[in-house]
């Protein structure tokens, strides 16, 4: 009986944590979608990739 009660509590906590996670990601996705609608005119920030190995070697030769 005692082990059954502990098992029941653990299962309840597990279900609660899973549901809370799903709820968190659900609300986050809605908020992200709303933000996208209002901030769609923003240009993405400039990004400079790391030069590749061969390009670096060529520059060093020069």
């Amino acid at each position: 009986m005692f082990w059954k009660e502990i098992g029941g509590i653990l299962i309840f906590l597990l279900v609660f944590v899973i549901f809370a996670n799903i709820w968190f990601h659900f609300v986050e996705s809605i908020l992200t979608a709303i933000k996208k609608i209002f901030c769609c005119h923003k240009e993405p920030p400039a990004w400079h990739p790391l030069p590749k190995e061969d390009t670096r070697e060529d520059e060093e030769d020069i």
Partner: protein, 161 residues
């Protein structure tokens, strides 16, 4: 060294990886900053903590932004370049010239950070440590000497109070 000696010694720094990343940081920095070689570099990061309350689920979210921080003692300028933990690229640099900023100081609480206010509206808090183990979140680089040099520069030449 025995098993327990190794166990209590803590994590060891992979200097090969650290040196490779330091070179990548220099390449990226020099790519976007004019006369980049005149700047000394350290790795720093910003923390953006926001609180959320979605009904029965509430807590805090922390966004980490990796930065290559360069400083020039002659011109008393700090340049901040955003990057990513694997150093595959970087963004545009932001210049903080001492003559142009509103104030700069070192904060001790809640975290040890170098704070710069370019104007009244905005600020940047730069956190920096000797070495951070988590490669997924931070750039893997050992920088004890560089951090000491930056701290000395910031406190003695750059801070406004």
């Amino acid at each position: 060294m025995g098993f327990f000696g190794k166990l209590f010694k803590g994590p060891e720094i992979d200097m090969e990886k650290s040196d490779a990343n330091a070179k990548k940081m220099r390449l990226l920095f020099n790519q976007v900053v004019e006369n980049g070689d005149t700047y000394q570099l350290i790795f720093g990061y910003t923390e953006d903590v926001s609180w959320f309350n979605y009904g029965f689920v509430h807590g805090s979210k922390t966004k980490i932004g990796n930065l290559i921080v360069g400083w020039n003692e002659e011109t008393k300028t700090i340049v901040v370049v955003p990057t990513v933990p694997d150093l595959s690229g970087c963004g545009d640099p932001v210049y903080y010239r001492r003559s142009e900023i509103m104030k700069a100081y070192r904060n001790k609480y809640p975290t040890d950070a170098f704070i710069i206010y370019p104007d009244k509206k905005a600020y940047i808090g730069i956190n920096a440590y000797d070495w951070l183990e988590d490669e997924k979140l931070y750039v893997y680089v050992s920088q004890e000497k560089e951090l000491a040099a930056f701290t000395e520069f910031f406190m003695n030449q750059y801070a406004t109070k």
